[in-house]
Structure formats: C-alpha cells, structure tokens
C-alpha cells in the first residue's frame, strides 16, 4: 500500500489502543523481571501522542514521526523512552519529506529505527530486549511484497521467544538466571507496535 501521514497516524492510534489495553499486562511482565513500570511508561507516552494527534495534523510521515519522537523522548522516560524515541527520530530522517511511503520505504524507515535502538541501547540479539523483536523481524521482511499476516505472526513469535532467554541487558540482567521464564516487556510492547502496523496494512492495503 501507499502510506500517507494519516495512515500512519491510524496505525499509531491503534498502537496506543493496544498499549492501553495491555497496560497492566506489560507492567506485570516488568514486575517479574524489571521494575514494574513498562506499561505505565508506554501508556503515558501514547496518551500524550494521542493528544498531539488531536491537536495537529501532519503533511508527511516524516513530520509525524518527528513529532511523535519528541513526545516519546519527553514523556515515556526509563529505558523505553529513549529507545522508542530514537527509533522514531531516525524513522523521520529516513522518511524525509516524502508525502507518502511505499511498503518498502516504510520498512526501510523501520530499519533505520532498529539501528537507532541498537546504537542507543548497545544490545544485540539474544540479550532479551526489544532488539530481539526489531532485528530479526526486519531482517526477515525487506519490504517487497510483505505478507502482513506472516509479519504479525513473526512479531508474536519473536516476542514469545524472549521468554526462554537469559537477560544480558536492561534491568532483567540483574536477575541473572532468574530472568529466564518471563517474556521481556519491551519485546511485548514492540510486538504490539508491529502487529498494529500489520493490522493497518491489512485493513487499508
């Protein structure tokens, strides 16, 4: 499909809905192996994003990503704030001033976001962080002729896989072996991020 700023806004609003719906679940996951605020942090961020959407309309996806990046950076806090925020910021650069994005261009933007997360967080695949969703997912789907159902399923599976990982980065790392057996909260919110993207693509594509 061809993604306008409005399509992207639709996606991110769905993401916000899902965050609100899974807020307690994300917080519970973070209580198990972190500090119990991930759902709260993300909910604060997407609530502020929705306010922004109510107040402003955006001409281009790039403009939208940039505004959302500022909200995430300024409102989420914790580890997830700078990570999601930096990702959005780099997605904005990648999207540039184009009025619309093809699937390929959107996936390229997400790849730029992925790189930002890797750089900010200095985590690699297998360390039980959101990187474990972002990196393999965007490796598998390069944007040409995306099967959005498969994309969505893959995000879900990648999230589930973090359960058996032994955390090496983020707060869960402090628990050592006790981190095994719980899904990483940031991977769970990232799965929602990609699944709402896929849902929008299916709905509008």
């Amino acid at each position: 499909m061809t993604w306008t700023a409005e399509d992207i806004q639709h996606w991110l609003k769905q993401f916000a809905d899902q965050i609100h719906e899974h807020k307690d679940e994300l917080t519970d996951l973070d209580q198990k192996i972190g500090d119990g605020d991930h759902g709260i942090n993300m909910a604060r961020g997407v609530k502020e994003m929705n306010k922004l959407f109510d107040e402003k309309t955006f001409a281009t996806p790039g403009e939208l990503f940039k505004a959302v990046a500022m909200v995430y950076i300024g409102k989420i806090g914790g580890a997830s704030g700078p990570l999601y925020g930096s990702a959005m910021m780099k997605m904005a650069s990648s999207a540039g001033t184009q009025e619309t994005l093809s699937d390929k261009e959107l996936i390229d933007a997400l790849k730029a976001g992925k790189t930002a997360i890797e750089q900010r967080g200095k985590a690699s695949v297998g360390e039980k962080t959101m990187v474990d969703v972002w990196v393999p997912l965007l490796q598998k789907f390069d944007g040409s002729d995306v099967d959005w159902n498969a994309f969505s399923d893959e995000a879900d599976e990648l999230k589930a896989k973090t359960k058996e990982m032994h955390a090496k980065k983020g707060r869960a790392a402090y628990l050592g072996a006790r981190s095994v057996g719980h899904i990483d909260p940031g991977s769970a919110s990232s799965a929602l991020f990609f699944q709402t993207l896929a849902a929008t693509a299916r709905e509008r594509g």
Binding site: D37, G74, G77, P82, L83, G121, R171, Y174
Partner: protein
C-alpha cells in the same frame, strides 16, 4: 495499596511541592519541570553537580541538593528515569560557567536519558561531563552485560564530588575525583518486604513470612537470590563477604561505611545492623573513619537495608568530612 497520597498521577509533583514548601530557604523548583535546584543556583564559576533518577528513592535525590553536595536533582516518575528534556533543564539551571557534572546511576534508562541531555547541553555550549555509578556487587560485573547497578554508594559520590566542586575544582578534576569514589565504593542490599509502585497498585513480588531477598536493588525488584530469613549477624556477614570479595580490603585500611535503610526499616534495626557490621569490620582490622546510618537511598516502602563501603584516600576523606548543608545530609 496503602499510601499517603492524593492523585497517583500527581504524586511526584505534589512531593516536589511539599519538599520545596518545607525548605523554601534552601530549594527552588525550576518552573514547569521536575527539577529542584539550590536556592542560589547557578553558583557563578563553580562546577555544577547534577544527579537524579526515578522518584521513590527519597531523600535521593532532592534531599541532597544544597551547599557542598548537589546543585540540582531531577525527579522522574516513580522508578522511571527522567527524560532528557528535564535533565537538560537541570543542567541549564545550575550551569555557572564552569560546566556541569552528571552523576548517573548505572541503569540503561538513566544512562541513555542523561546522555541525550548532555548532548543537548553540549549543543548549546555548556560543558558537560558524566560519571556512572555502579556500586552494587550483587550483580555480576561483566563486559557482556550493562554491568552493575548504582545504589546507595551514589550518596558518597554526591557528597565527595559536591565538596570538590564547592572547593573550586575544575570540571575535569571533579569528574576525576568522582571516578575515584566510584572505583572505590561497593554496596549490597537485601529486603524483607517488597514495595508497591503507586501507579501499579500492587507489590513487585511476594515474600513469605520466613523469606528474604538478597541482592535487592532499589527499584522494588526481586533480589538475585531468595533465602530463609536470617539473623542480622548472618545477613551482615553475607553482605560484607560479597563486598570484600570484590574490594579485597586489607587490615589497616581506612574506610567509610553506610548502613542504608530501604524506606520502611526502623532506625532501631539499622543500628542493630551497624552494631553487627562494626564487629565484622573490627575483626578485619579496618579503620572506620565515618559511619552513616539512616535512610538515604530508598525504594518506596521496601523494608531492608544495604551496606556500602568506601575505601578512603586523603582526597576522599577530606571531601567526605567537608561541610554539606542539604535537607537530608548535613556535615
């Protein structure tokens, strides 16, 4: 959840208001932020020392703002690192022209947010340096992970870096002295009861009546190990041994000690711990120059304590003993 509070969403804001209302001669808020600074900030020509982190660690960090310690503190949401814009506001508010040192506790979120703030400040021409405190020996020190957490030992960094800045040291010197503290301070904590993040509404973990957690951090998380409840003597020994294993303290060395309560620990119990710890330190021939007992780096209403040991040299000894006039720490 039972807390003295009004609106969960306003708890940090109301706390900061209550803090500044209690100490109007000492502190002021930077309008529209969650930053608290010395009433006389920025102090012209002095290096500014800034720290902060999530809320819920009170008196850290606002309680250490004042002459001889921090110039400013940023309060995030409960247990959530503050955002870069807030940290940036603090940097701007305390910069007296000699640059600003950021004292960061080693959590991924804190490091990233403070770093981003430092980048913003550098872009505006303010010199910013940072140190990252990682005193918690409960956590493995490995180059494959993000490393050890910063816990109660951070107070020693605030105190000594703050005194050095007050003494007119340059930004590089203050940073170097702070690094010296960080290299020489180790801590370990344990907990008897969990705590409840206000917005979460339920405790972070559950403990039976005969259980405790060893190696607990300051964010209400479980520790590295769960064991049966033990007498203070054995607990003190566990904490000391782990610290000693790392620091390799030698008989005759001068040290400073902190017995820190996690938020709901009666002072009686902290003094009992100190009695026990003092015995152990004596057995090892260590000279304790300064002992600090109380609640300094807390985890909401968590019950438990941490032990911190700082190896002293002349510089650290001098700046630890130097004057400090903050609401939670006076010398």
């Amino acid at each position: 959840m039972k807390k003295l509070m009004n609106d969960v969403d306003q708890i940090v804001d109301e706390m900061l208001n209550g803090m500044v209302a209690a100490h109007p001669q000492a502190l002021k808020r930077v309008d529209g932020t969650t930053v608290v600074v010395r009433k006389d900030a920025p102090v012209n020509g002095k290096v500014g020392v800034v720290s902060g982190g999530g809320s819920g660690h009170e008196p850290a960090h606002g309680g250490f703002v004042g002459k001889g310690m921090l110039d400013g503190a940023i309060a995030g949401e409960v247990f959530t690192s503050p955002t870069p814009d807030q940290v940036f506001e603090a940097i701007k508010a305390v910069d007296g022209g000699a640059g600003v040192l950021l004292v960061i506790k080693n959590y991924t979120g804190d490091v990233m947010n403070f770093e981003m703030a430092g980048e913003m400040a550098e872009a505006e021409g303010i010199s910013v340096k940072q140190v990252v405190v990682n005193d918690d020996v409960a956590v493995e020190d490995s180059s494959f992970t993000s490393g050890r957490r910063g816990i109660a030992g951070t107070i020693f960094v605030h105190k000594i870096a703050g005194a050095a800045a007050e003494d007119g040291k340059s930004l590089d010197e203050v940073q170097q002295i702070a690094e010296g503290v960080i290299k020489n301070v180790k801590s370990m904590g344990m907990s008897l009861h969990p705590c409840t993040v206000p917005a979460a509404g339920k405790p972070g973990f559950e403990l039976d009546d005969n259980e405790m957690e060893i190696g607990t951090g300051i964010h209400g998380e479980p520790g590295t190990e769960r064991t049966a409840l033990k007498p203070a003597k054995e607990i003190a020994q566990i904490l000391f041994d782990k610290i000693h294993e790392d620091m390799k303290l030698e008989s005759g060395e001068e040290i400073a000690v902190m017995i820190n309560g996690l938020g709901a620990t009666p002072l009686m119990e902290l003094y009992v711990m100190n009695h026990t710890v003092a015995d152990i330190l004596k057995q090892h021939g260590l000279h304790v120059t300064e002992t600090i007992v109380g609640e300094y780096m807390t985890s909401l209403e968590m019950a438990g304590a941490s032990l911190s040991i700082l190896r002293l040299d002349e510089t650290r000894k001098k700046y630890l003993a130097a004057e400090a006039d903050t609401t939670a720490f006076k010398r």
